[in-house]
Amino acid sequence: MPDSRICRCSIIPPHIFRNIAEHGDDQQRAQARHMLEESAEVRGERRALSLVSDALALPAGEKRRTIYDAQHTRVLPGKLVRGEGAKPTKDAAVDEAYDGSGATYDFYKSIYKRNSIDGRGLRIDSSVHYGVNFSNAQWNGRQMLYGDGDGKLFNRFTAALDIIGHELTHGVTQYTAALEYRDQSGALNEHFSDVFGILVKQHKLKLTAAKSDWLIGVGLFTKQVHGAAVRSMKAPGTAYDDKVVGKDPQPAHMKNFAKITADNGGVHVNSGIPNHVFYRVATMLGGKAWEVAGQIWYDTLTRRLTRDSNFQACADATYAAAGERYGAGSAPQHAVFDAWKAVGIDISAPIVASGPRLKVAKPTFTMPTAAAEVPMMPEAPARTRAARK
């Protein structure tokens, strides 16, 4: 029979961890997962990670959260302070991490039928009070960790629900497109986290696209910082402008794409471009952003992108995803096309001659006189020939 000692080995044959998955208790499962993921990570084997999640899968529909207190150290996970179903504590960080991971789980489950981060019921572990004055929150590949902030510029990182949704979405990306965290693929990784982070918040607050402020991280800055939030999807580059913190560096258009080496090639900077695309699609379509725009982006992340996808690949994938789900030439597909165009990216292979709601390119010149004088559009003769066949 498996016992906890097995988990101390660095290499465990698959049949044993399957056995643990079926018969082990929660702690044994968690230990097995931890060891296996660690060894898989060390060896750089992403496929091994999905094998781990296969083996340790839970029955569908189970939400399980575990909150730990790192007690101002960097030792993970720390002391267990709240498990699934347990009553609120008096510690705001603990309860925000619990509620926020619950809201994120519920969002993915109810809207996209996704069972937790890995799609297989992974237990969501979070450690709060990580480090001393630690001004960050992170999904470290296995669990969430939240710092308390320095109190000067940053409040605690559990304070905003979209931060929690953002971080947990890094986990979803890890198990799906696995976008490499540098340059354009890294900026997309950031982008998807901002998209689903804000959607978790909009969903929880029942905000339509028109009512949302499209700001990421409202409440994170202290009152000493001159800034509404950390990023703006509506107007990238305008979220903050402060003497100490500096000015929001995000571009909203490809012509301002930042070529830098810091921040893994500006992943938090250039994400402004696709972020603005999503904002445009969502507000063009109106209603609840998680329903159509969010669905297109979810399909794209989970089924159409790979680790090295760039902005162009993402643009083409969202266009294809919109066509697949809502029809070629549909309003959502047009919105996707127009939104990417607005930031300087043209869809590689737009559909030009099908669909009932096709938007036909118009001649760019405007003649005040009769349209009959305008030369025939190029595709017109082709259509005539096709009709004769």
Binding site: S135, N136, H166, G217, H268, V269
Partner: protein
């Protein structure tokens, strides 16, 4: 000895730059800096392995540049970075 650190990334993606020049420190602090640097450069430096929202540290010691990621920081580097970030605040 001159040590500069640029911290980038993190959830907020806000870059912070700090620099300490040993020449402007008192004897005790200069010795501390030197010891921390010595300890840090003596341990094997992990390859920068990008992790979502982990801080990236670009550390420059007397013109010699290194990139480290928060998740993989050896304790010796953690101590040096923490000391410089605080001293230069």
């Amino acid at each position: 000895m001159r040590v500069s650190i640029e911290r980038s990334g993190g959830f907020a993606g806000i870059a912070v730059r700090r620099e300490v020049d040993g020449a402007s420190l008192d004897e005790l602090e200069a010795a501390t800096l030197e010891r921390l640097v010595h300890d840090a450069v003596s341990v094997p430096q992990p390859l920068p392995r990008p992790m979502p929202d982990a801080f990236q540290y670009d550390v420059n010691i007397d013109g010699h540049a290194r990139t480290l990621i928060e998740t993989d920081l050896p304790p010796e580097w953690e101590r040096l970075i923490e000391w410089v970030m605080r001293r230069a605040e």
